[in-house]
């Protein structure tokens, strides 16, 4: 008995030593965002090796010549920059620039949406502040930001305040998924209106896509949880908020945008992309698994949406790459660009699918290849100029798209 006990203790000691030895340095968080400034400068926001929030920019006539990174004040707080949770930046009128991110809290799956603002074109930034009114230690994550045509700043995020309040069935909440909440700022992020629910029953950890419609108003597209557990996508119009008279804006009407009929109790971690089309509708990309011929067919798909967000089903097709991940889409006139990364073991290829006829036909291009850690590619646009930006552990590549 004594020998057995000694052997067990020695075994546990060996295990502890082995486990300690195996502990490694955290990986770099490469997830970043890009946007053109009004003067044509290309900006990037991300985290450096120390986990600090930084911005850097490249001149309009030399987009591959990145300037020195500028670390922004972030009070040493944690910032999410993994996968689809990444710092964002947006340029508005009057020299307004905002940078947002999710600050993960100590309790798992919780966070706050934080923002820094500039009123001088990005020369200086404020200290970070929390965007939403609700301050519970719950999920406020996966934010998206954009200025609409009137210069109103919209912030949307995945929020679980309704799930927290819902009655439980056994150990599980009776609430399906999470919710999409939003607020708006008419002064470039100096002040914000109330938190307003856009939609119940969103998926819990996928990015939210935003695009400006032909009417100048924003549309949001997100992965939704349709009854009972179908993780397709919804689209809603961001109607103007009117809270001055105390009127509560009702949740928007959710229009179903995809019909993969993917029923699963799991997290796809793969949100959609959305871009306005010339006819008032939209171009969309998304990931889903659908049954075809009795088999599960996983694919990133492209499709056209009508102005109300409903799909033009005959336009839906899979990207020509079964390894495609996290596609992004932009459009200008009849030009449509879809970019994605394709991982084959250690090697990753950056691919672009370009259309000159409004998405009727596409041509496949390979823009780059790399071995090692890298981010999903991001598209940025200023008028007809479109670039694909791809960050890896060593550099930030910029690929000008030629149609």
């Amino acid at each position: 008995m004594k020998n057995t006990l000694v052997a067990a203790l020695l075994t546990l000691a060996t295990m502890c030593a082995w486990a300690q030895h195996a502990q490694h340095q955290p990986r770099a968080q490469l997830a970043s965002s890009v946007a053109f400034a009004p003067d044509g400068t290309l900006w990037l926001a991300g985290l450096n090796a120390q986990g600090e929030l930084f911005v850097q920019s490249a001149p309009a006539n030399g987009l591959t010549h990145w300037g020195a990174p500028r670390t922004l004040v972030s009070q040493g707080e944690a910032i999410s920059a993994d996968g689809e949770n990444r710092p964002k930046l947006a340029f508005g009128p009057k020299g307004w620039v905002v940078v947002s991110y999710t600050q993960p809290l100590a309790k798992p799956y919780t966070g706050m949406i934080r923002m820094l603002r500039s009123a001088d074109g990005g020369k200086t930034f404020s200290a970070p502040f929390t965007v939403h009114t609700d301050r519970q230690e719950i999920t406020h994550r996966f934010e998206s930001i954009a200025f609409d045509a009137d210069g109103v700043l919209h912030t949307l995020w995945v929020d679980k305040r309704d799930m927290e309040l819902a009655p439980k069935v056994g150990k599980k909440s009776s609430y399906r998924g999470a919710a999409i909440y939003r607020n708006a700022s008419t002064d470039g992020g100096a002040t914000f209106g109330p938190d307003i629910k856009l939609a119940d029953n969103s998926c819990e950890c996928c990015r939210i896509a935003l695009a400006t419609g032909a009417d100048g108003g924003l549309r949001a597209m997100w992965r939704h949880v349709f009854e009972p557990n179908v993780r397709d996508h919804g689209v809603a119009v961001l109607t103007p908020l009117s809270s001055e008279d105390g009127h509560i804006v009702p949740a928007a009407q959710v229009v179903r945008a995809t019909f993969d009929e993917w029923a699963i109790d799991a997290c796809p971690h793969h949100g959609p992309g959305l871009a306005a089309a010339t006819d008032g509708g939209f171009h969309a990309v998304w990931f889903g698994i659908r049954k075809q011929g009795g088999k599960d067919e996983a694919a990133v798909r492209y499709g056209r949406l009508k102005a109300d967000g409903s799909p033009i089903l005959e336009s839906v097709r899979a990207l020509p790459d079964e390894r495609a991940e996290h596609a992004d889409v932009l459009a200008w006139g009849t030009r449509v660009a879809v970019v994605w990364r394709s991982v084959d073991g250690a090697r990753t290829t950056l691919k672009a699918w370009l259309s000159g006829d409004g998405g009727q036909t596409f041509r496949l291009h390979t823009l780059g290849k790399i071995t090692g850690d890298n981010d999903h590619p991001r598209l940025a646009q200023q008028g007809a100029r479109m670039v694909a930006v791809w960050r890896n552990a060593n550099e930030v590549q910029v690929h000008e798209l030629k149609f």
Binding site: A22, P268, H269, H270, N374
Partner: protein, 172 residues
């Protein structure tokens, strides 16, 4: 049992036997009540780790691949833990591993309390998609991704919670 037992594998198996016992407390009703394991560190997980675990790892075993933002993942652990509790002593010992794909060190440890019943905690070390494809080339980062390894080495793979039949086959 393999006579060419190396010390590393000996330690792994010993912990596999010991930790479920250490992490299960009997309540007054006699029902096994799981308590979170006191993980103090995280083991690294690479494509090589996976090959070794599949070839020479303990059986039965359940590997649950998860990440810091997968809110549907803890439910799978609850299901696996309940399955083992229902099966009683004849099912044990079982390796029940949580593998964090997007965080290492303290960030991974912070999520350990969600993986009730886990006997091992790993974290990806390397380019996440490359490791993921080494596990399953067709796996598209949907989590929880679960691999159940039966006593005879038969594997079942699924995204989301295993079905009742899959759980029954696992422990058969």
């Amino acid at each position: 049992m393999n006579s060419s037992f190396n010390p590393r594998r000996r330690a792994l198996l010993a912990a596999t036997f010991a930790m479920p016992i250490a992490t299960m407390a009997m309540t007054a009703e006699g029902i096994a009540e799981p308590t979170p394991p006191a993980f103090k560190s995280v083991e690294t997980f690479t494509a090589s780790t996976w090959r070794q675990l599949l070839a020479k790892g303990p059986r039965p075993a359940a590997y649950v691949f998860t990440n810091t933002f997968c809110a549907t993942c803890p439910e799978v652990f609850e299901l696996l833990q309940q399955t083992l509790a229902d099966a009683g002593p004849k099912a044990n010992p079982v390796l029940l591993a949580a593998i964090m794909m997007d965080a290492q060190g303290d960030r991974a440890l912070a999520h350990a309390r969600h993986y009730v019943g886990a006997t091992r905690l790993y974290a990806f070390d390397g380019f996440e998609p490359a490791i993921r494809q080494a596990i399953d080339p067709k796996w598209r980062n949907v989590t929880p991704y679960v691999v159940l390894v039966g006593r005879g080495g038969a594997t079942q793979r699924m995204t989301g919670p295993p079905s009742a039949k899959q759980l029954k086959d696992w422990l058969a």
